[in-house]
Structures are given as structure tokens and as C-alpha cells.
Symmetry: C2
Subunit: 340 residues, 2 copies
DNA sequence: TTGAAAGCGGTACCAC
DNA sequence: GTGGTACCGCTTTCAA
């Protein structure tokens, strides 16, 4: 018969009921004490015709989709694409697929995406949230779907978090620069209210204050790469004489900074020492090599997906409501750009 | 009532039939000549309770999922993540979501992924295929789902393709080196049978032959970054004296090569000139800057998704079976690494 | 040990 | 113009 294969056609073909086939297929043969013979018969036939159950129908019935929604800031950033890769790999091994999207730090788009994901009945979420989605995410959390927040901390949100110790990392990096003898240390960051940026800034400010120095902070608007470079360039032209070292709060800001410094013929580290948050292949290859604060990408990914998988496996019965906040340590990689 | 909202509960609440609600919701009110008043009533209520139809149920019934499957080699490669970003953006604007995966050039995993995607009833595929999946993809194509192949050309596969002119690009780059006065030009590539690699190699070989020179080809096994560097390093140590220029067939091979050359204190371009296929931010920032063959990422992405969307919109009726092969041009970016 | 049948939430054919 | 209802394919309760 030319009919599409379904659990029904199998049952009909074998002269048994769909129930039985379903039980066998779902490994409930033992439990339901279905005869070995029958099980084998079903399995053999399924094998023969290479039957694949329709997961849509299954999802509709069970409410589970075996899909995890991954929402990052921008999949084309190496940091996020590396995380995506790791998460996908692990998810795949556990029978989950990933639907991903980039928010581009756009609140409206993010809300939209979450709606779409809910609509697709994804089983869980891993989200790198932009500003202003706390409420939406809280809604999400109060549905029974597990949510893991990545990279940023949302204090008002009842969800698991995986972040790095931004404050301490930058505090220590700043202290390192000070110990190296630098005094006029600038911090270049994004004008963002996201927790990770706030924390990095605070770490810098506190270290500066603890050493009785004067903070020099430059906030760059979220903008295209070329724009960023211009802002930084303008800043450097005004301040280059006085600044001895610069800390960048993200790697792409640092890249823009390096371009600007190259244009201005500023010598690193002779004129200015440089440190960047978030390591990048470029920093290892650049001349001079650039000191950086490396985030543990593997560990971040692993913790996030493990946390989510654990929640997914747990029956709602023993749902321990205590949300976790996992804080991972960064690695300070000293390179040539900070040698006095 | 505490019942979950469905098209049925709406119908019941309003005292009309599900059919009517369905028609209104699907914009078929006009077509079905449903009264303005009723339409408004339905719409208002839907608005009020913020009803979102269950797309799973809809997919089950219609066979459409509004999901596009994107299968790339490795999402953590900038080339692929940039493409993913562009494709996602455009897909999103057209109401499609993306499920993506990385094949890691693993044939078995890829087949598995395709199975999973079929199972999820994705509406269309964009695939960067590893070796050995031609048959599987042909199966896919003979289902009615549109498939677009990216980056590599599968001659036996009846699908749309979007590729770049690998052969000409490398031929011209090689010729450029020759015109610059380089004679002993090596080509470092992967030991891969994928069309794009074959074509790049052929382009090199033909140019060398056309100029009466001797080809020097080094094939590197697919391996971890560190391994690759070792292989290249060993090759360079044996040949450094005679080689005047090197062409790398991919950007990550070139990065490994740059590391190796740095270790060996080979001066670029004084000792050796360097060209890489596939541009990379690093090449623009490196000292010296590295000449490269840039792929038109935006154009590749745009063509791929447009092709797919076009096929998706087209009714099966006027299905023009003629598959397209879109060949895009690369840009040769001359930088410091090739100045004699 | 196995089977009948009621949904999951929509869509769309067919009837009135 | 509007409504009844079969059906997409699978899970699962209940009965036999």
C-alpha cells in the first residue's frame, strides 16, 4: 500500500493494535508484559521499513518537543558561537535539538523570540538576555519550563544563572596594572546597564579607588564597529598623553581600540598598555600580544546545558525550587601588551 | 473557566463554530465572506485573551513547520556563524525559525541530523555537506522539501547550490603571486575531497602549470589546531629555503601557518609571502597584514535564503524543477604579506 | 497480555 | 455565511 507509514499502518499490517505497537516502541513492553515474540515481530518490521515516529504528533500529545531554545546576543560573535557549539553538541548527545536566535540586544525582538519559542513548545531555554526582558523571563519561569540565564545576572529573575566573576576579574586585572606601575588607567566600556558590564566597571572603579587613583571611564555607545573605532579614536586623541594603560570591557571594543591605536601610531605597551576582557584568537597573534581576561567558554557551556538537562530530567514532583547561581572564574592571561 | 485556551474554547465562548474562528484567524474571512461584525468579535476576543495558536497542532495538520534546518560544518567558525546570523535574520523576517547543527564534517552525524530534521518536519534545508552524504541528500531532495547546498558543490545532487568561484579565485591569486615575481609557490590545503578544496587546488595547479612552474602541494590531515601547526611547521622546516610564497586553502590553515612561521622566525613577506583563502579579521590586524581571498558572506547567505524562501513560497503546481547553481565571486584583497 | 477509543489543537472538506 | 466533523499521528486510560 502506498500509504505513509504510521504507527497505525504498522499495527494494521501486523494485525495488532496501535496500543501494542506504541508500547513496544516506547520500551514499555516489559512493564506492560507484552510477549517477547510480539515485541520481536514489531521491532523487526519497524526495522525493515525504517519507521520513524512523527515527533510532531508525539509532541502535541505529550507536550514535550525535545527542543531547547538558545537565545544569544549575536551568534556571529566568537564567544557566543563557541558556546553555541558546545551546547549543541551536548544537547545532541542527550537527544535534544537546538533552535537558536540572536537578540542583537533588542528587547522587542527578544520578547518576540520567546513568544515564538513558547509557541514551538520548546522544553527549556538558555538565554543571554538584553535589558528590559526581566518581566518576560519571569513569566517564562512561572510556566513550568526550565530557564538558564547566561553571561548576565538578572537579580529579579527566578531562574538558574551561569556567569563569571566579572567584578573580581576586573578588580584583579586593574590591580595587576597598578602593581606594574601604571597610574593613569582608563576603562573603556559600553554604555550598558547589563549586569556583566556594571560589574566589570565596578571592579575597575573599586581597584582604582582602593589605590587612591583617579578613574577615567569612557562609555561607548552600542554601534557599528567603525563608529566605535571613531569614538575611541577621538577619546585617545584627547587623552593619549595622560593615559598609561587601558582596560577594555569586551573583546570587540578592544579590537576597535587596537585599530584606533594603530591609526594614531600609539605604541603598545610603550605608550599605552592594553588589557581586554574576553580573550580572542587575535590577541594571541597580534603584535604585541594582548593581555586578556579569558572566560571559561567550555565550562560556561557545560554548566548551562548540564543545569538545564538536570532540570529537564527531574520530574515535577521533586522539583527543587532553589535556583542556582553558578559563578565561574576567569583566567588572567598576561601577554606583551602589559609589560612595563 | 480554568481550561487552556484553544480555538475550541474560543468558539465555545463566543457561541460560534471552530471553523469560523479558524477562518478568521487565518485571514480567510474575506474569502469565506464572514461578516465584518463577527470577524471583529473574534479578533477582539482573541486580542483580549492574548491567544496564540498551537503551532504544533497546526504543523501536524498542515505538514508545515515554519522551520528551516541549517546544517553547517562548524558553527564556531566565523565564516559559518556569520552566514548563520545573516540567514537567521532574513528567515526570521519571513516568519521562519532556524534549527541548526554542526556536522564537524562527520558523515554519520550529518545523516543523523538529516533524519532528525525530517522527523521535525522542517520545511526546507540549507546544508554545508561533508563527504559521503550525496545519497542521503538526494533522498531528501526527492521528498518535496527544498534543499539548498552551500559552500560545496555536489555534482550528483539535484538541489540548488550557492558556491563561490573557487577555481578562478585561486588561479588568479596564484597568477598574482607569479606576476609579483614569486616562483616557488607552495599550496597548503586539507586532504579533503570536497569540491571547494579540489577546485582551489586545481586553480593553483593550473596557474602553476600555465606558467611552467613546479607545484609544491602539502596536504594537511583534518586535525586539531595544534596538530595542524606541527605538520605545517615540519613542512616549513624542510622547505623554507626554497619556498618563496605560500597559499593557504582556508583561513584556519593560514592561522596555523602564521603561528608556525612565527615560531620559526620566518619573516613575512621577506622570507615568504602569504595568501589565504577566506578573509578573517585577524588578517587585517596581523603584522604584516595578510593578503586574502575574501568570500562574499552576505551575498552567499542572501542567495541561499532567498532561493529557499522562493521555493517555499512557490506552490508545488508551478514547481520549476530546474535547480540553480549560483556561483559568486570572491574579492582579492592585497595586503602587506605579498609585497615583494 | 492486548485492544478500543478518547483526546492533544488545529484545518478544511462538505453540507446547509 | 456558518457549522459539523473527520483527520493529522501518537499516547494513554480503561476495559476486556
Amino acid at each position: 500500500m502506498g500509504k505513509r507509514i504510521s504507527i497505525n499502518s504498522i499495527a494494521k499490517h501486523l494485525g495488532i493494535s496501535t496500543t501494542t505497537v506504541s508500547f513496544v516502541l516506547n520500551g514499555k513492553a516489559q512493564e506492560k508484559r507484552i510477549s517477547e515474540k510480539l515485541v520481536k515481530k514489531v521491532m523487526d518490521y519497524v526495522e525493515e521499513i525504517d519507521y520513524k515516529p512523527n515527533s510532531l504528533a508525539r509532541s502535541l500529545r505529550t507536550g514535550k518537543s525535545n527542543i531547547i531554545g538558545l537565545i544569544v546576543e549575536d551568534i556571529s560573535f566568537p564567544f557566543f558561537s563557541s558556546i553555541a557549539k558546545e551546547i549543541e553538541e551536548k544537547a545532541y548527545k542527550n537527544g535534544y535539538k537546538i533552535i537558536y536566535s540572536s537578540t542583537e540586544n533588542n528587547t522587542a525582538k527578544t520578547k518576540d523570540l520567546i513568544d515564538m519559542y513558547q509557541d514551538k513548545h520548546v522544553d527549556g531555554y538558555i538565554i543571554v538576555p538584553p535589558e528590559g526582558v526581566e518581566e518576560k523571563i519571569n513569566e517564562l519561569c512561572s510556566s513550568e519550563k526550565p530557564v538558564v540565564i547566561l553571561d548576565r545576572y538578572l537579580s529579579d529573575v527566578q531562574a538558574d544563572h551561569v556567569v563569571v566573576n566579572n567584578y573580581e576579574s576586573v578588580y584583579n586585572a586593574t590591580q595587576y596594572l597598578i602593581d606594574q606601575g601604571f597610574k593613569n588607567i582608563a576603562f573603556i566600556t559600553l554604555n550598558s546597564l547589563q549586569s556583566q558590564m556594571i560589574d566589570r566597571l565596578s571592579g575597575y572603579e573599586q581597584a582604582i579607588q582602593d589605590n587612591g587613583l583617579i578613574p577615567i571611564v569612557k562609555e561607548i555607545a552600542q554601534a557599528e564597529s567603525i563608529e566605535r573605532q571613531k569614538y575611541i579614536s577621538a577619546f585617545l586623541q584627547r587623552k593619549a598623553d595622560s593615559i598609561e594603560a587601558i582596560l577594555f570591557s569586551t573583546n570587540y571594543l578592544c579590537v576597535s581600540g587596537l585599530r584606533a591605536m594603530k591609526d594614531l601610531h600609539l605604541d603598545i605597551p610603550k605608550n599605552i598598555a592594553v588589557v581586554s576582557f574576553d580573550d580572542y584568537e587575535l590577541f594571541e597573534m597580534y603584535s604585541p600580544t594582548i593581555t586578556s581576561i579569558a572566560q571559561p567558554i567550555e565550562s560556561i557551556s557545560e554548566n548551562a546545558i548540564n543545569l538545564l538537562l538536570a532540570r529537564l530530567k527531574k520530574k515535577e514532583a521533586d522539583t527543587d525550587k532553589i535556583k542556582q547561581k553558578i559563578v565561574l572564574s576567569t583566567t588572567f592571561i598576561v601577554r606583551e601588551s602589559t609589560s612595563q
